[in-house]
């Protein structure tokens, strides 16, 4: 920023006597690029790339914060341990991360899309409905987590209450209150996903709603003139024009979901047992609660590789579809 201001200050353009600048006045060309990129470049290198490289280095060592001076190089030993030894719960936590992210993103996308389609109609008090629909988005994750934790409480939670009140022709699917955060933890998985869906769907609504407003009317009209039904128009006009937005929003939400921490940690601490131990919770437990920094770093590096591969193929597939 200092550089930026320094150039702003002199009022006479001619006085910017940087010998390096192009014949035109002021900063220009490559130097302009460098100067304006500088703050971001420094930050990206310092707080993202340098730490990332350092994490890779840590994964080949045996750093334990309880005994920091016993640190030495161990080669690929950590990788072998993490991948083969079930004690680390690595593959299970990868699996749970994938399940959590996929389920919450898909369902949140469907709800968000439905909401966007409804809100795209002419409605009374439209702005009010839009505002209400977006509220979950701005509620902090920790609050979402505790709110759902409270609502899912087995004794006095409203969700058990609602479930138990279901009577369909004398058939009661849930006669007993469910212990959402007990037992093997299958229900805890559902509870965390449920909370995630609620906190995610407004992002889809917001983006898809904006996208819907750019769907060209001429195209829809042309399709109508050609005798296309509404269902056909939806699939062949509306959805294709939204493809770009759909790819971007789902990619982002999938990635964010794969790296979720706040909702899961605040709701369940990864429990009961290891049931909701997703990869980030696993790394946090390993590295910061048990102080095994190098094991955590190893998990992080494997996870990074998995994510980069996933993103590469996902975008490839989606772009391939767009090209058709």
């Amino acid at each position: 920023m200092a550089l930026f201001n320094a150039d702003m200050a002199p009022n006479q353009p001619a006085s910017v006597g940087n010998g390096r600048s192009s014949p035109k006045r002021g900063l220009n060309g490559p130097w302009l690029f460098v100067v304006l990129m500088l703050p971001s470049a420094v930050l990206l290198l310092g707080i993202i790339y340098y730490p990332a490289v350092n994490t890779v280095l840590l994964s080949f060592q045996s750093l334990n914060l309880a005994m920091p001076f016993a640190n030495h190089w161990v080669g690929l030993e950590n990788y072998v341990k993490i991948i083969t030894n079930p004690v680390f719960d690595f593959w299970h936590s990868v699996g749970f991360s994938a399940l959590y992210s996929l389920c919450s993103t898909v369902v949140a996308f469907l709800i968000g899309f439905a909401f966007a389609l409804v809100l795209n109609q002419r409605l009374r008090f439209q702005q009010l409905w839009r505002g209400l629909a977006l509220i979950p988005w701005v509620i902090p994750y920790v609050v979402v987590a505790y709110l759902f934790f409270y609502m899912f409480n087995s004794q006095y939670g409203i969700i058990n209450q609602l479930l138990m009140s279901i009577h369909i022709l004398g058939w009661q699917p849930f006669p007993q209150p469910l212990a959402w955060f007990g037992g093997e933890g299958k229900l805890a998985v559902i509870a965390t996903i449920f909370a995630a869906i609620w906190s995610k769907f407004p992002f889809f609504t917001l983006m898809l709603l904006a996208g819907l407003q750019t769907v060209p009317h001429e195209l829809l009209e042309a399709a109508t003139v050609d005798g296309a039904g509404s269902w056909y128009r939806f699939w062949h006009v509306t959805v294709p024009s939204l493809r770009g937005i759909i790819v971007i929003t789902t990619t982002l939400e999938l990635i964010w979901g794969l790296n979720e921490f706040a909702i899961i940690w605040a709701m369940t601490n990864g429990g009961p047992g290891d049931a909701t131990n997703n990869i980030v919770v696993n790394i946090y437990r390993t590295g910061f609660l048990n102080e095994n920094i190098s094991y955590a770093a190893t998990m992080g590096v494997i996870w990074l590789i998995i994510l980069l591969a996933f993103t590469y193929f996902y975008i490839r597939i989606m772009e391939g579809k767009t090209a058709q």
Binding site: L27, M37, L43, L44, I48, N54, W265, I293
Partner: protein, 313 residues
């Protein structure tokens, strides 16, 4: 509950919408015919779907607010009560008394979030602009490198940031929190602002340059005023992220007086006061309020900025 809503709404509105758009496109005459059959089944289905979705969207928030006004015992009643029997402001009244460190958490979160937002904007705005305007091959590579970081699991970075800040004695400081929070807002912000700048025609800038403005002055006087919606959107995003952040804040702070809201909640309410639901809900309402207020104030710029950036990027 959600499956039911979903099944219903996914089908109904999609029919309704395309029909509707086809209808009002041709012009006024059709709108009038539409008024005649005001009570169409499609409208009814539309409002039913809207109602179901709104219940889903708003119910947890309602529950949050309702519980925050309940008395301690009432929050434990089974079956739970929908409205507080006796409305009490007790849970709100005790917040400023700082019993749970709430004021400190709030202050810390505010400071760190504002600093993070400023840092992100100062770095991302010029970067987004030049990446949008320069098209040499290296620029594209740089953009890919920045986009790639969006896919980084932050926990991978955190492991090293933690050891680094520990060595530097920077744990429990605002700069450590600010810098680490910037890791996830910066790449996304650059990318969004680049996308936003892409949507703007270069005519104005060219004209300004012909009139003798330097590129930096053009950026300051011409470009920035136009991209305000994008800046607002990105700023809001950075603020929201910092306000929400749990993992980094939990790891990088250990002393209670440096905690931000998220770790403060986790460590305070769950540890010692696990069962004080109304108090926690009241604190939650207060925590959510600043974001809701900012969102409502800037909603217009926010939506246009976010979507323009994402669609083009």
């Amino acid at each position: 509950m959600s499956e039911e809503l979903l099944g219903q709404s996914a089908r109904v509105p999609s029919n309704a919408i395309t029909q509707d758009q086809g209808d009002h496109a041709p012009g006024i005459r059709h709108t009038r015919t539409k008024k005649k059959r005001l009570f169409s089944w499609k409208r009814v289905a539309l409002y039913v779907a809207l109602f179901a979705l709104l219940v889903y969207a708003f119910f947890p928030t309602f529950w949050l607010i309702s519980t925050s006004f309940k008395q301690q015992l009432e929050a434990f009643q089974a079956p739970p009560t929908w409205w507080p029997h006796t409305i009490t402001f007790h849970s709100y009244a005790i917040l400023p008394a700082d019993q749970l460190g709430f004021v400190a958490y709030f202050k810390n979160s505010l400071i760190v979030s504002v600093l993070t937002t400023l840092l992100t904007l100062l770095a991302a705005t010029p970067a987004g602009y030049v990446l949008s305007r320069f098209h040499f091959r290296g620029a594209r590579a740089i953009l890919l490198v920045i986009l790639g970081t969006q896919m980084f699991p932050y926990v991978t970075i955190l492991i090293s940031l933690y050891t680094l800040f520990r060595q530097l004695g920077m744990l429990n400081t605002y700069p450590a929190l600010m810098l680490s929070f910037t890791t996830f807002s910066l790449p996304f912000s650059i990318w969004m602002l680049k996308g936003f700048c892409d949507t703007l025609p270069t005519d104005l800038e060219d004209a300004a340059r012909i009139d003798g403005l330097s590129r930096l002055r053009t950026l300051w006087h011409i470009v920035i005023p136009i991209i305000i919606p994008g800046i607002v959107a990105v700023g809001f995003f950075a603020f929201l992220n910092s306000w929400n952040e749990l993992l980094f804040a939990l790891t990088l702070t250990s002393s209670p007086d440096m905690r931000t809201i998220a770790p403060g909640f986790v460590l305070t309410y769950i540890g010692e006061f696990q069962d004080r639901w109304p108090d926690m809900m009241a604190a939650s309402v207060v925590v959510a309020l600043p974001v809701v207020v900012i969102f409502t104030l800037f909603q217009k710029q926010l939506v246009s900025g976010l979507t323009a950036g994402a669609m083009k990027g």
